[in-house]
Symmetry: C2
Subunit: 206 residues, 2 copies
Amino acid sequence: MLKLFHAWGSCSLASYLALEEAGAEYEVAVMNTRGWDQRKPEYLAINPKSRVPALITERGVLTETPAILAYIAQAYPSAQLAPLDDPFAFAEAQAFNSYLCSTVHVAHSHKHRGYRWADDPAALADMTRKVPEVEAACFQLIEDTMFKGPWVLGEAYSICDPYLFTLSGWLADDGVDIGRFPKVAAHAERMLARPAVRKVLAERAA
Amino acid sequence: MLKLFHAWGSCSLASYLALEEAGAEYEVAVMNTRGWDQRKPEYLAINPKSRVPALITERGVLTETPAILAYIAQAYPSAQLAPLDDPFAFAEAQAFNSYLCSTVHVAHSHKHRGYRWADDPAALADMTRKVPEVEAACFQLIEDTMFKGPWVLGEAYSICDPYLFTLSGWLADDGVDIGRFPKVAAHAERMLARPAVRKVLAERAA
């Protein structure tokens, strides 16, 4: 059985939602990243990058959200979570997810995790200050040029949707009103109506 | 015919090398990113993210290095540039490339492009100062836990190899001696012996 190492508030929510949508059999190990669970030796043995998510499969451990999401789509093809038989359409899905991981998530990380790239407290403060501006620019680009609707890729729900939902869920904390991006805001509402999303979020409340 | 928008010194080298390895028919548009070609209206119409690479295909434009690399592997399967028929092995390849784009490339970007995340000149200077430490930590992790050898994924050359070669080529500029990572250093030498790599690099010299 698959086992997902997940932390609430982190990007691993996207993989959790995709597993649920795929109808996979899986269990979840909830990490307390504020308590630095990810730095404990037993977790470093699983993922030496010291990050979530990590997905344990019968073949070994997978990391990195875009890779895990594509894996879930390929391992559960009947769930139709990606255009698997069309290299161009699959690449469009991957490009969207790659933008989320390398640009949008990174922009967000400068709020609380600027220490990855600087040490001076004044530098960290300047990064934190700029986060709303940078995040808003990312979401404006998504709203204007990437989001097709009603789902990210158009008519078909895909692995891009739980990932966008996860990151758009951080906007409020980043000081950005999601209402500035009507398509993204409507997407978040649409996601909240999905049974898989409701089920997973209920776990957090539990 | 495919058309790659490429800038020397940028990560688009990885896609260029992959196209050459794939035996694709393609042309290259060389951008001068120091002259801000990527901000010109005609390029923004192609890629509103204002970055290289962008790959024009008969179906439309693809962006983001990991997506373009996987597309090339899927579009030219006879070149065997990725384990396409094995979702787990394909995910391992994607996880490697995702780490390069979201962590290693991002670490490097804090040297010259810290303005993406801060404004204060002192903050930008502190980011630049920390780059060698952060890049070295990334490559130590690659050396110790990810690189299988002789190629990234083991015996088979893949889309991970030109991407690693591209980013390890930045270490000297980042103030890090590649010799600290013997496997990565030997990989770079191995890459330089490949006809496709020699051919592409000769274009730069031309």
